[in-house]
Amino acid sequence: MLALFAAVSLLTTVGIIAVLIFETAGFFREVSFREFFGSTEWTPLFAKPTFGIWALVSGTALTSFIAILTALPLGLLAAIYLSEFAKDRVRKTLKPLMEVLAGIPTVVYGYFALTFVTPLLQKLIPGLAGFNALGAGIVMGIMILPIIASLSEDAIFAVPRSLREGALALGGTKLSTVFRVVLPSAFSGIGAAVILGVSRAIGETMIVAIAAGQQPRFTLDPRVPIETMTAYIVQVSLGDTPSGTLAYRTIFAVGMTLFVFTLVLNMVAHRLRKRILGGAAR
């Protein structure tokens, strides 16, 4: 009986995959693979629609890249401070406080990106559109910062003390110990943190739906409105799209692409983390 409850989680996975495959198959009966993967135009609502996923993938890649660019340096430095410099009590207070950032509803971040960060950036960067990848990406970086900091800190903390002491005994300074010994040793763990951060950024919806615009565009220009895969799903869901239509199926085809991306990233990160957890006892 209780085993059935545990089976619900398996059924959820099966359900997700079944639903995505079923509707995506319906999508590809009407749209060719060549168009989906070969075109950079995404105009599903035009009279003569084109379904080139790269227009949405580029939007997702761009915002996620900006997010990582924001979160990685900050997160890594914060992790170094927490594990190498902070006293135990400081660590125990600041770490949970930082994790509050990850618990803020994303619709709140979306508001922040649209009404605070973008106007601020517009003062610095003339020509920045009201909806843009830059502001959304930066705020997304703030959102994933706790994940990166927390997981990197785990990895740095897991580096055996003996390695640090060895480096210091050989005459290394604290700085050279951190940069030449501790960080390289924690590399795969930090790699896992970054990959999980990217995976979270790719799947993040509300920030980009609110602040990055809804204009599918194959570009790497962070100043103009774009559309991510997730934002497209939101855009279609807000309209009343009857099931069974091609427009309805597009959101599943896009969802499938998104699902595959995050699944691959999560699996790679899991591998990397397993390697450090197997290597060092914590």
Binding site: V8, T12, L77, F85, I104, Y111, T205
Partner: protein, 302 residues
Amino acid sequence: MNGEATRLGASGGGLAELRQSVAGHGAERTFRAICLLALLLPLLLLATVIVDAVADGAARLGWGFLTSFPSRHADKAGFLPALVGSGALMVLTAAIAIPLGIGAAVYLEEYAKRGRMTALIEMNISNLAGVPSIIYGLLGLELFVRVMDLGRSLIAGAATLALLVLPMVIMASREALRTVPNSLREASLALGGDRWQTIRKVVLPMSMPGILTGIILSIARAVGETAPLVTIGALTYVAFLPDSIGSAFTAMPIQIFNWISRPQADFHANAAAGIVVLLAFMLVLNGVAIWLRLRLQRRLEW
């Protein structure tokens, strides 16, 4: 520190060496300061997010805002259907996710034999936790709204959110079950209790604060979720209160999103006021969770 002293001693304390060492120390302090800054900046941003929302929304916050229906006029629009909708969603989500989550956790921790099947379930749960929430929305749209024909109803929304938070509930509950010392289980069995009695009378009561903490945090997350509800088609303009689980609904994040999406700045003030209410709501839930955790720690120190 020791390393530096040894090095200086060995080289006879050459002036150049000394200078380099001092410079290194200065660099270390600079680096340390940069690291601290990197840690404090996000916390400062957290404060900015909150202060910004309060500043933008303060003028709209008030009894009228909490007790009115949405309106075309920003200054008359209220949050009531969203508040009621979120409350109902929370209760329904909890009603679905709690039995399923605790049941699964008890099975995995207390009954299941270590083997391929449990390893598969475990891997599956950790994978599910990494699936973007909007994908759960797609699942809910197809499975609950279309196939099971529940429509864009409260129960369809709650079922979707329950599946979304289930991995979190299971993981937190397992963690809590693991903190119960085995000696207590053995004592209960030695007194003639069977396995189910041991779980019901000893293991579950002992781990309940931990389980509840995990559940509350999961539910708090569900309350803040927007994307899956948008995907299953929660309404953005609701001028009535839900009267049954089959009723159409809106929720706090949905209403906030709707107000943000409007071009008029007046509605942005409403969105900010809604955000303040939502954050306060989550703050209360998190406060309860922290209080429970402290209680748990006290009880286990014996």
